[in-house]
């Protein structure tokens, strides 16, 4: 037993030391890809899409009210998710855009959600619009809604969902995002239930992913996590995804938005 304990002790130190400078080098990599990132391209394309008349009513989204008045973009993303009186529910950016596509442009929900997640050959409307709109909140502290009863309920539901273990692999979000200093392979795992760890994440999503040259949104992020949790697929813009998003954004609120980010 003594030999084993000594060996285990040595092991615990060795990987720790390696991890430290690996962490430093990966942070350098992240800084460098943020300096020279093609994310701007998505913002530009998103702007032209925001202004492009579409749908049976042949109207652009420029009159869409993202919570700060019709067409107001400055800081709008930083105040989402929030409660919207006209829809009587809590909405994040993509959910609100879908609302405007159906109510302003007269598009059917089915058509507007046919392709919500794109690929590197063809990004989706939601991805391009998210890039442009999020960019208009640069420098504005993240401040999602938190006073309305439905906002509080969304946060509470999101918090429970974050810790709720289910599915064939018994995972919850906290299974991976629950303990400080943990990694999946070389991927650092922020503890998203801890404000200090959640703030830099919330301030840099949505983001451009260098690994597949795609621009990714929060709805995709939550969708893809449930995929890796071996769960069935969450409905796009559902109450469930908005609740998880509300919990994450509220936990990480207060940090000035500095996205869209560039990630692995």
């Amino acid at each position: 037993m003594k030999r084993l304990a000594a060996l285990l002790a040595a092991l615990l130190v060795a990987p720790g030391a390696l991890a430290q400078d690996a962490k430093k080098e990966i942070e350098k990599y992240q800084r460098m890809i943020n300096d020279s990132s093609p994310a701007e391209l998505f913002e530009l394309e998103g702007e032209s899409l925001w202004k492009k008349p579409q749908g049976p009513r042949n109207v652009s989204l420029e009159r869409c009210d993202l919570g700060m008045g019709p067409g107001v973009l400055k800081g709008a993303y930083a105040h989402l998710p929030r409660y919207f009186q006209d829809a009587d529910r809590v909405m994040d950016l993509e959910t609100r855009l879908l609302h405007c596509m159906t109510t302003l442009q007269g598009r059917t929900r089915e058509e507007a959600t046919k392709r919500v997640f794109g690929n590197e050959d063809k990004p989706s409307e939601m991805e391009l619009l998210s890039a442009y709109i999020a960019a208009q909140s640069r420098g504005v502290p993240m401040q999602p809604g938190g006073a309305h009863p439905k906002e509080i309920a969304a946060y509470e539901l999101g918090r429970k969902l974050f810790f709720y273990r289910a599915g064939p692999w018994d995972f919850s979000c906290a299974s991976c995002h629950g303990e400080q200093g943990k990694r999946i392979r070389m991927q650092e795992l922020p503890v998203l239930s801890d404000p200090a760890s959640a703030r830099p994440v919330v301030a840099t999503w949505p983001a451009y992913r260098v690994s597949n040259s795609q621009f990714k949104t929060m709805q995709w992020r939550i969708n893809d996590c449930y995929r890796q949790m071996r769960m069935p697929e969450p409905n796009f813009a559902s109450e469930l995804t908005n609740a998880v998003n509300m919990f994450l954004t509220t936990t990480g609120k207060g940090e000035p938005y500095r996205g869209p980010g560039t990630k692995r």
Binding site: P38, L41, D121, V210, S213
Partner: protein, 103 residues
């Protein structure tokens, strides 16, 4: 492929930094698209940077340059208002050219 390039210039004391973002898939010919077929090789081969009409930098690049290439260069003796021209040619003979005044 005539998407505009995004050029940004910053005039400094010793040199002017030029950052250019080009729209190009830079396919290696090894990637499979969403329906599983190999996407044919397609990448920028040659590029040039001209200042007031005179070539100051020539580049030969390959499919090993990342998708939507981002380059940074440094030019000496450039001043605000000078004409900066960046052009590229890819392996299919497609061309693109963007011009801007140094800010």
């Amino acid at each position: 492929m005539a998407d505009p390039m995004k050029i940004r210039t910053t005039v400094g004391a010793e040199f002017t930094e030029v950052r250019v973002l080009m729209v190009h898939p830079m396919e290696t010919g090894q990637r499979k698209d969403s329906s599983g077929n190999l996407v044919p090789i397609h990448f920028i081969q040659e590029m040039s940077v001209k200042l007031n009409g005179r070539s100051v930098l020539e580049g030969q690049i390959s499919q090993a340059v990342s998708r939507n290439p981002v380059f940074s260069f440094r030019l000496k003796g450039a001043k605000a208002g000078d004409k900066l021209e960046i052009a590229w040619l890819d392996n299919r003979g497609e061309r693109n050219r963007s011009e801007t005044a140094i800010a």
